[in-house]
Symmetry: C2
Subunit: 232 residues, 2 copies
Protein backbone atom coordinates (compact mmCIF):
# COMPACT_ATOMS: atom_id res chain seq x y z
CA UNK A 1 0.00 0.00 0.00
CA UNK A 2 1.05 3.63 -0.45
CA UNK A 3 1.81 5.93 2.48
CA UNK A 4 -1.68 7.48 2.19
CA UNK A 5 -3.38 4.16 2.78
CA UNK A 6 -0.96 3.34 5.63
CA UNK A 7 -2.08 6.63 7.16
CA UNK A 8 -5.78 5.84 6.72
CA UNK A 9 -5.46 2.33 8.12
CA UNK A 10 -3.58 3.45 11.25
CA UNK A 11 -5.12 6.92 11.74
CA UNK A 12 -1.59 8.34 11.89
CA UNK A 13 -1.14 11.50 9.73
CA UNK A 14 1.28 11.23 6.78
CA UNK A 15 3.72 13.88 8.16
CA UNK A 16 3.91 11.91 11.43
CA UNK A 17 4.66 8.70 9.53
CA UNK A 18 7.42 10.52 7.62
CA UNK A 19 8.83 11.74 10.94
CA UNK A 20 8.90 8.16 12.30
CA UNK A 21 10.64 7.01 9.10
CA UNK A 22 13.32 9.71 9.52
CA UNK A 23 13.76 8.83 13.20
CA UNK A 24 14.17 5.15 12.39
CA UNK A 25 11.08 4.08 14.35
CA UNK A 26 9.57 2.62 11.19
CA UNK A 27 11.57 0.68 8.56
CA UNK A 28 11.60 2.21 5.06
CA UNK A 29 9.04 0.93 2.56
CA UNK A 30 9.99 -0.83 -0.64
CA UNK A 31 10.87 1.91 -3.13
CA UNK A 32 8.88 1.62 -6.38
CA UNK A 33 9.95 4.95 -7.92
CA UNK A 34 12.16 7.86 -6.75
CA UNK A 35 9.17 9.41 -4.98
CA UNK A 36 7.12 6.39 -4.01
CA UNK A 37 7.38 3.46 -1.65
CA UNK A 38 5.15 0.52 -0.81
CA UNK A 39 4.29 -0.48 2.73
CA UNK A 40 2.98 -3.79 4.07
CA UNK A 41 1.08 -5.23 7.03
CA UNK A 42 4.29 -5.29 9.05
CA UNK A 43 4.33 -1.48 8.79
CA UNK A 44 0.75 -1.23 10.03
CA UNK A 45 1.60 -3.38 13.02
CA UNK A 46 4.86 -1.54 13.78
CA UNK A 47 3.13 1.84 13.52
CA UNK A 48 0.56 0.77 16.11
CA UNK A 49 3.33 -0.42 18.41
CA UNK A 50 5.18 2.90 18.03
CA UNK A 51 2.02 4.84 18.88
CA UNK A 52 1.35 2.69 21.92
CA UNK A 53 4.88 3.21 23.25
CA UNK A 54 4.84 6.97 22.62
CA UNK A 55 1.23 7.79 23.56
CA UNK A 56 0.28 5.22 26.18
CA UNK A 57 3.75 4.39 27.50
CA UNK A 58 4.85 8.05 27.34
CA UNK A 59 8.29 6.87 26.17
CA UNK A 60 10.68 9.27 24.47
CA UNK A 61 11.57 8.77 20.80
CA UNK A 62 15.03 7.59 21.86
CA UNK A 63 13.62 5.06 24.37
CA UNK A 64 11.13 3.84 21.77
CA UNK A 65 13.99 3.30 19.30
CA UNK A 66 15.84 1.22 21.92
CA UNK A 67 12.77 -0.89 22.68
CA UNK A 68 12.21 -1.56 18.97
CA UNK A 69 15.84 -2.58 18.58
CA UNK A 70 15.42 -5.18 21.32
CA UNK A 71 12.19 -6.44 19.69
CA UNK A 72 13.96 -6.71 16.32
CA UNK A 73 17.20 -8.33 17.45
CA UNK A 74 16.31 -11.03 19.94
CA UNK A 75 19.37 -11.68 22.07
CA UNK A 76 21.02 -14.95 23.06
CA UNK A 77 18.15 -15.91 25.38
CA UNK A 78 14.57 -14.73 25.73
CA UNK A 79 15.35 -13.79 29.33
CA UNK A 80 18.18 -11.51 28.18
CA UNK A 81 16.08 -9.94 25.41
CA UNK A 82 13.29 -9.20 27.88
CA UNK A 83 15.90 -7.59 30.17
CA UNK A 84 17.10 -5.28 27.38
CA UNK A 85 13.52 -4.27 26.58
CA UNK A 86 12.78 -3.70 30.25
CA UNK A 87 15.76 -1.39 30.69
CA UNK A 88 14.46 0.74 27.81
CA UNK A 89 10.95 1.09 29.27
CA UNK A 90 11.96 1.89 32.86
CA UNK A 91 12.45 5.59 33.72
CA UNK A 92 16.17 6.10 34.49
CA UNK A 93 17.19 7.35 37.92
CA UNK A 94 20.59 8.69 38.96
CA UNK A 95 21.66 6.88 42.12
CA UNK A 96 23.40 8.84 44.88
CA UNK A 97 25.21 6.06 46.77
CA UNK A 98 27.33 8.50 48.79
CA UNK A 99 24.36 10.09 50.53
CA UNK A 100 23.35 8.43 53.81
CA UNK A 101 19.65 8.96 52.95
CA UNK A 102 20.12 7.07 49.66
CA UNK A 103 22.02 4.30 51.48
CA UNK A 104 19.19 3.93 53.99
CA UNK A 105 16.51 3.85 51.26
CA UNK A 106 18.63 1.33 49.33
CA UNK A 107 18.88 -0.96 52.33
CA UNK A 108 15.15 -0.79 52.92
CA UNK A 109 14.50 -1.66 49.25
CA UNK A 110 16.97 -4.54 49.28
CA UNK A 111 15.35 -5.90 52.45
CA UNK A 112 11.97 -6.04 50.67
CA UNK A 113 13.60 -7.87 47.73
CA UNK A 114 15.33 -10.29 50.10
CA UNK A 115 12.10 -11.05 51.97
CA UNK A 116 10.47 -12.04 48.66
CA UNK A 117 13.49 -14.19 47.76
CA UNK A 118 13.86 -12.51 44.36
CA UNK A 119 17.19 -13.29 42.69
CA UNK A 120 18.23 -10.29 40.57
CA UNK A 121 21.19 -9.35 38.42
CA UNK A 122 22.83 -5.96 39.15
CA UNK A 123 21.67 -4.21 35.93
CA UNK A 124 17.92 -3.85 36.54
CA UNK A 125 17.12 -0.09 36.56
CA UNK A 126 13.96 -0.76 38.59
CA UNK A 127 16.24 -1.30 41.59
CA UNK A 128 17.39 2.34 41.57
CA UNK A 129 13.84 3.45 40.81
CA UNK A 130 12.58 1.59 43.89
CA UNK A 131 15.29 3.18 46.06
CA UNK A 132 14.49 6.63 44.64
CA UNK A 133 10.80 6.22 45.50
CA UNK A 134 11.49 5.05 49.04
CA UNK A 135 13.72 8.11 49.40
CA UNK A 136 10.99 10.39 48.04
CA UNK A 137 8.39 9.09 50.54
CA UNK A 138 10.84 9.79 53.37
CA UNK A 139 11.82 13.18 52.01
CA UNK A 140 8.15 14.18 51.92
CA UNK A 141 7.66 13.10 55.51
CA UNK A 142 5.40 10.29 54.26
CA UNK A 143 7.65 7.42 55.35
CA UNK A 144 4.81 5.86 57.38
CA UNK A 145 2.93 5.18 54.12
CA UNK A 146 5.73 2.74 53.22
CA UNK A 147 4.13 0.22 55.61
CA UNK A 148 2.49 -1.06 52.40
CA UNK A 149 5.81 -2.09 50.81
CA UNK A 150 5.72 -5.82 51.53
CA UNK A 151 2.06 -6.09 50.50
CA UNK A 152 2.89 -4.25 47.25
CA UNK A 153 5.80 -6.63 46.62
CA UNK A 154 3.57 -9.66 47.16
CA UNK A 155 0.99 -8.22 44.75
CA UNK A 156 3.73 -7.38 42.21
CA UNK A 157 4.91 -10.98 42.36
CA UNK A 158 1.41 -12.18 41.51
CA UNK A 159 1.21 -9.70 38.62
CA UNK A 160 4.63 -10.71 37.28
CA UNK A 161 3.74 -14.40 37.40
CA UNK A 162 0.67 -13.66 35.26
CA UNK A 163 2.81 -11.56 32.88
CA UNK A 164 5.40 -14.29 32.34
CA UNK A 165 2.68 -16.93 31.90
CA UNK A 166 0.95 -14.76 29.26
CA UNK A 167 4.21 -14.32 27.34
CA UNK A 168 4.79 -18.08 27.55
CA UNK A 169 1.59 -18.77 25.60
CA UNK A 170 3.02 -17.09 22.48
CA UNK A 171 4.88 -19.08 19.88
CA UNK A 172 7.46 -16.79 18.25
CA UNK A 173 10.29 -15.03 20.05
CA UNK A 174 9.63 -11.59 18.51
CA UNK A 175 5.95 -11.85 19.34
CA UNK A 176 6.86 -12.82 22.92
CA UNK A 177 9.10 -9.77 23.23
CA UNK A 178 6.49 -7.46 21.68
CA UNK A 179 3.86 -8.85 24.06
CA UNK A 180 6.20 -8.35 27.02
CA UNK A 181 6.96 -4.75 26.08
CA UNK A 182 3.35 -3.78 25.46
CA UNK A 183 2.14 -5.79 28.42
CA UNK A 184 4.59 -4.01 30.70
CA UNK A 185 3.92 -0.49 29.35
CA UNK A 186 0.11 -0.78 29.04
CA UNK A 187 -0.07 -3.03 32.10
CA UNK A 188 1.29 -0.33 34.42
CA UNK A 189 -1.70 1.87 33.57
CA UNK A 190 -4.09 -1.09 33.61
CA UNK A 191 -2.97 -1.90 37.15
CA UNK A 192 -3.28 1.78 38.14
CA UNK A 193 -6.88 1.85 36.84
CA UNK A 194 -7.82 -1.37 38.64
CA UNK A 195 -6.13 -0.11 41.81
CA UNK A 196 -8.30 3.05 41.81
CA UNK A 197 -11.46 0.99 41.36
CA UNK A 198 -10.44 -1.39 44.15
CA UNK A 199 -9.62 1.64 46.33
CA UNK A 200 -13.11 3.05 45.82
CA UNK A 201 -14.65 -0.23 46.90
CA UNK A 202 -12.32 -0.54 49.92
CA UNK A 203 -12.79 3.11 50.87
CA UNK A 204 -16.60 2.82 50.72
CA UNK A 205 -16.45 -0.19 53.02
CA UNK A 206 -14.09 1.54 55.46
CA UNK A 207 -14.90 5.26 55.29
CA UNK A 208 -18.27 5.21 53.48
CA UNK A 209 -21.21 7.46 54.40
CA UNK A 210 -23.28 4.52 55.66
CA UNK A 211 -21.60 3.11 58.76
CA UNK A 212 -19.93 -0.24 58.97
CA UNK A 213 -19.81 -3.32 56.86
CA UNK A 214 -23.56 -3.42 56.24
CA UNK A 215 -23.16 -0.67 53.65
CA UNK A 216 -21.05 -2.94 51.49
CA UNK A 217 -23.98 -5.22 50.77
CA UNK A 218 -26.65 -2.50 50.50
CA UNK A 219 -28.48 -1.97 47.21
CA UNK A 220 -27.21 0.73 44.83
CA UNK A 221 -28.62 4.22 45.44
CA UNK A 222 -30.91 4.17 42.38
CA UNK A 223 -32.77 1.03 43.50
CA UNK A 224 -36.11 1.64 45.23
CA UNK A 225 -35.53 1.32 48.97
CA UNK A 226 -37.59 -0.96 51.11
CA UNK A 227 -39.44 -2.30 48.06
CA UNK A 228 -38.57 -5.57 46.40
CA UNK A 229 -37.31 -5.05 42.85
CA UNK A 230 -39.91 -5.93 40.22
CA UNK A 231 -39.31 -9.42 38.89
CA UNK A 232 -37.79 -9.51 35.34
Amino acid sequence: MRIGELSTRTAVPVPTIKYYLREGLLPAGERTSPNQAQYGDAHVRRLKLVRALLDVGKLSVAATREVLASVDSPDSTLHHTLGTAQIAITPPVTPDPDSPAWQQAYERSEAVIARRGWRLEPGNPARDLLTQLVLTYHDLGEGDMLCVLDEYAAAAERIAAADIAAIGTRAEVDSKVEGAVLGTVLGDTLIAALRRLAQEDASARTFGPVTGRTASTAKPAEAPTGEPAPAG
Copy 2:
Protein backbone atom coordinates in the same frame (compact mmCIF):
# COMPACT_ATOMS: atom_id res chain seq x y z
CA MET B 1 11.33 32.56 57.00
CA ARG B 2 11.90 34.63 53.86
CA ILE B 3 11.41 33.24 50.35
CA GLY B 4 15.19 32.69 50.01
CA GLU B 5 15.26 30.35 52.99
CA LEU B 6 12.12 28.58 51.77
CA SER B 7 14.00 28.01 48.53
CA THR B 8 17.09 26.68 50.31
CA ARG B 9 15.12 24.35 52.57
CA THR B 10 13.13 22.82 49.71
CA ALA B 11 15.73 23.03 46.90
CA VAL B 12 13.09 24.77 44.76
CA PRO B 13 14.43 27.89 42.96
CA VAL B 14 12.87 31.25 43.97
CA PRO B 15 11.40 31.95 40.47
CA THR B 16 9.67 28.54 40.60
CA ILE B 17 8.23 29.32 44.05
CA LYS B 18 6.94 32.64 42.70
CA TYR B 19 5.34 30.81 39.77
CA TYR B 20 3.58 28.41 42.17
CA LEU B 21 2.35 31.40 44.23
CA ARG B 22 0.91 33.04 41.08
CA GLU B 23 -0.70 29.74 39.99
CA GLY B 24 -2.30 29.29 43.41
CA LEU B 25 -0.42 26.05 44.15
CA LEU B 26 1.13 27.64 47.25
CA PRO B 27 -0.76 29.97 49.63
CA ALA B 28 0.64 33.50 49.96
CA GLY B 29 3.02 34.18 52.83
CA GLU B 30 2.27 36.66 55.60
CA ARG B 31 3.14 40.09 54.20
CA THR B 32 5.60 41.98 56.45
CA SER B 33 6.32 44.88 54.04
CA PRO B 34 5.19 45.76 50.49
CA ASN B 35 8.03 43.65 49.07
CA GLN B 36 8.43 40.96 51.68
CA ALA B 37 6.49 38.01 53.03
CA GLN B 38 7.15 35.42 55.70
CA TYR B 39 6.68 31.69 55.11
CA GLY B 40 6.26 28.89 57.63
CA ASP B 41 6.67 25.12 57.92
CA ALA B 42 3.28 24.62 56.26
CA HIS B 43 4.77 26.23 53.13
CA VAL B 44 7.77 23.87 53.20
CA ARG B 45 5.45 20.88 53.44
CA ARG B 46 3.10 22.15 50.73
CA LEU B 47 5.98 22.91 48.38
CA LYS B 48 7.24 19.33 48.71
CA LEU B 49 3.74 18.02 47.98
CA VAL B 50 3.47 20.24 44.88
CA ARG B 51 6.83 18.98 43.60
CA ALA B 52 5.86 15.37 44.18
CA LEU B 53 2.60 15.79 42.26
CA LEU B 54 4.24 17.63 39.36
CA ASP B 55 7.54 15.73 39.11
CA VAL B 56 6.75 12.22 40.30
CA GLY B 57 3.03 12.13 39.55
CA LYS B 58 3.49 14.00 36.25
CA LEU B 59 0.26 15.90 36.98
CA SER B 60 -0.52 19.13 35.14
CA VAL B 61 -0.61 22.42 37.06
CA ALA B 62 -4.41 22.43 36.74
CA ALA B 63 -4.75 18.86 38.05
CA THR B 64 -2.36 19.68 40.92
CA ARG B 65 -4.51 22.69 41.84
CA GLU B 66 -7.60 20.45 41.94
CA VAL B 67 -5.87 17.86 44.11
CA LEU B 68 -4.73 20.55 46.55
CA ALA B 69 -8.26 21.94 46.72
CA SER B 70 -9.55 18.52 47.76
CA VAL B 71 -6.77 18.21 50.37
CA ASP B 72 -7.62 21.66 51.75
CA SER B 73 -11.42 21.37 51.82
CA PRO B 74 -12.28 17.95 53.17
CA ASP B 75 -15.76 17.09 52.00
CA SER B 76 -18.74 15.72 53.91
CA THR B 77 -17.11 12.33 54.37
CA LEU B 78 -13.55 11.06 54.05
CA HIS B 79 -14.75 8.62 51.39
CA HIS B 80 -16.12 11.50 49.30
CA THR B 81 -12.97 13.61 49.75
CA LEU B 82 -10.81 10.69 48.65
CA GLY B 83 -13.07 10.34 45.60
CA THR B 84 -12.55 13.98 44.61
CA ALA B 85 -8.79 13.64 45.00
CA GLN B 86 -8.79 10.43 43.00
CA ILE B 87 -10.66 12.03 40.10
CA ALA B 88 -7.98 14.73 39.92
CA ILE B 89 -5.08 12.26 39.80
CA THR B 90 -6.55 9.88 37.20
CA PRO B 91 -5.78 10.64 33.54
CA PRO B 92 -9.08 11.59 31.84
CA VAL B 93 -10.36 9.52 28.94
CA THR B 94 -13.12 10.41 26.48
CA PRO B 95 -15.53 7.48 26.29
CA ASP B 96 -17.00 6.49 22.94
CA PRO B 97 -20.14 4.57 23.99
CA ASP B 98 -21.58 4.54 20.45
CA SER B 99 -18.74 2.49 19.01
CA PRO B 100 -19.26 -1.29 19.14
CA ALA B 101 -15.55 -1.79 19.99
CA TRP B 102 -15.89 0.52 23.01
CA GLN B 103 -19.08 -1.28 24.09
CA GLN B 104 -17.31 -4.64 23.91
CA ALA B 105 -14.31 -3.38 25.89
CA TYR B 106 -16.69 -1.81 28.41
CA GLU B 107 -18.52 -5.08 28.93
CA ARG B 108 -15.28 -6.96 29.39
CA SER B 109 -14.15 -4.39 32.00
CA GLU B 110 -17.45 -4.50 33.85
CA ALA B 111 -17.29 -8.30 33.93
CA VAL B 112 -13.92 -8.13 35.70
CA ILE B 113 -15.35 -5.64 38.22
CA ALA B 114 -18.42 -7.86 38.76
CA ARG B 115 -16.26 -10.96 39.32
CA ARG B 116 -14.40 -9.11 42.10
CA GLY B 117 -17.70 -7.93 43.60
CA TRP B 118 -16.56 -4.30 43.64
CA ARG B 119 -19.42 -1.87 44.26
CA LEU B 120 -18.68 1.40 42.44
CA GLU B 121 -20.45 4.72 41.95
CA PRO B 122 -20.77 5.93 38.33
CA GLY B 123 -18.29 8.83 38.64
CA ASN B 124 -14.97 6.99 38.95
CA PRO B 125 -12.81 8.00 35.93
CA ALA B 126 -10.75 4.82 36.32
CA ARG B 127 -13.69 2.94 34.83
CA ASP B 128 -13.33 4.69 31.45
CA LEU B 129 -9.56 4.37 31.73
CA LEU B 130 -9.90 0.60 32.19
CA THR B 131 -12.22 0.36 29.17
CA GLN B 132 -9.83 2.48 27.08
CA LEU B 133 -6.91 0.20 27.93
CA VAL B 134 -8.83 -2.98 27.11
CA LEU B 135 -9.73 -1.34 23.80
CA THR B 136 -6.08 -0.42 23.14
CA TYR B 137 -4.89 -4.00 23.71
CA HIS B 138 -7.47 -5.23 21.21
CA ASP B 139 -6.71 -2.49 18.72
CA LEU B 140 -3.03 -3.45 18.80
CA GLY B 141 -3.87 -7.09 18.16
CA GLU B 142 -2.64 -7.91 21.68
CA GLY B 143 -6.00 -8.98 23.08
CA ASP B 144 -4.59 -12.35 24.15
CA MET B 145 -2.38 -10.54 26.71
CA LEU B 146 -5.61 -9.57 28.53
CA CYS B 147 -5.72 -13.11 29.95
CA VAL B 148 -3.97 -11.48 32.92
CA LEU B 149 -6.94 -9.21 33.75
CA ASP B 150 -8.46 -11.18 36.62
CA GLU B 151 -5.07 -11.81 38.21
CA TYR B 152 -4.31 -8.07 37.96
CA ALA B 153 -7.66 -7.26 39.57
CA ALA B 154 -6.98 -9.65 42.45
CA ALA B 155 -3.54 -8.08 42.95
CA ALA B 156 -5.04 -4.56 42.75
CA GLU B 157 -7.51 -5.52 45.47
CA ARG B 158 -4.66 -6.55 47.74
CA ILE B 159 -2.83 -3.28 47.00
CA ALA B 160 -5.94 -1.20 47.66
CA ALA B 161 -6.60 -2.96 50.98
CA ALA B 162 -3.05 -2.04 52.08
CA ASP B 163 -3.59 1.55 50.88
CA ILE B 164 -6.80 2.04 52.84
CA ALA B 165 -5.29 0.43 55.93
CA ALA B 166 -2.28 2.78 55.73
CA ILE B 167 -4.55 5.82 55.46
CA GLY B 168 -6.56 4.55 58.42
CA THR B 169 -3.51 4.72 60.71
CA ARG B 170 -3.37 8.52 60.36
CA ALA B 171 -5.17 10.74 62.84
CA GLU B 172 -6.20 13.94 61.02
CA VAL B 173 -8.48 14.12 57.99
CA ASP B 174 -6.20 16.40 55.94
CA SER B 175 -3.21 14.19 56.67
CA LYS B 176 -5.27 11.15 55.62
CA VAL B 177 -6.15 12.84 52.32
CA GLU B 178 -2.58 13.96 51.71
CA GLY B 179 -1.35 10.43 52.42
CA ALA B 180 -3.96 9.00 50.06
CA VAL B 181 -3.02 11.37 47.23
CA LEU B 182 0.72 10.85 47.56
CA GLY B 183 0.32 7.15 48.19
CA THR B 184 -1.73 6.79 45.02
CA VAL B 185 0.53 8.93 42.82
CA LEU B 186 3.89 7.63 44.12
CA GLY B 187 2.46 4.15 44.66
CA ASP B 188 1.73 3.65 40.95
CA THR B 189 5.44 4.03 40.20
CA LEU B 190 6.42 2.01 43.27
CA ILE B 191 4.25 -0.87 42.05
CA ALA B 192 5.70 -0.51 38.52
CA ALA B 193 9.24 -0.76 39.94
CA LEU B 194 8.41 -3.81 42.07
CA ARG B 195 6.63 -5.41 39.11
CA ARG B 196 9.77 -5.12 36.96
CA LEU B 197 11.91 -6.68 39.68
CA ALA B 198 9.41 -9.51 40.17
CA GLN B 199 9.31 -9.97 36.38
CA GLU B 200 13.09 -10.38 36.25
CA ASP B 201 12.93 -13.07 38.92
CA ALA B 202 10.00 -14.85 37.23
CA SER B 203 11.61 -14.55 33.78
CA ALA B 204 14.91 -15.99 35.02
CA ARG B 205 13.05 -18.97 36.49
CA THR B 206 11.04 -19.50 33.30
CA PHE B 207 13.23 -18.35 30.40
CA GLY B 208 16.65 -18.12 32.09
CA PRO B 209 19.91 -19.29 30.52
CA VAL B 210 20.11 -22.27 32.87
CA THR B 211 17.36 -24.69 31.86
CA GLY B 212 14.32 -25.51 33.91
CA ARG B 213 13.22 -24.94 37.45
CA THR B 214 16.50 -26.11 38.95
CA ALA B 215 17.99 -22.74 38.06
CA SER B 216 15.59 -20.99 40.39
CA THR B 217 17.08 -22.64 43.45
CA ALA B 218 20.69 -22.65 42.24
CA LYS B 219 23.28 -20.54 44.04
CA PRO B 220 24.10 -17.08 42.64
CA ALA B 221 26.64 -17.09 39.81
CA GLU B 222 29.49 -15.79 41.98
CA ALA B 223 29.23 -18.69 44.44
CA PRO B 224 31.71 -21.53 43.90
CA THR B 225 29.92 -24.36 42.10
CA GLY B 226 29.94 -27.89 43.39
CA GLU B 227 31.68 -26.84 46.59
CA PRO B 228 29.86 -26.42 49.87
CA ALA B 229 29.90 -22.78 51.03
CA PRO B 230 32.36 -22.20 53.86
CA ALA B 231 30.58 -22.24 57.20
CA GLY B 232 30.01 -18.79 58.74
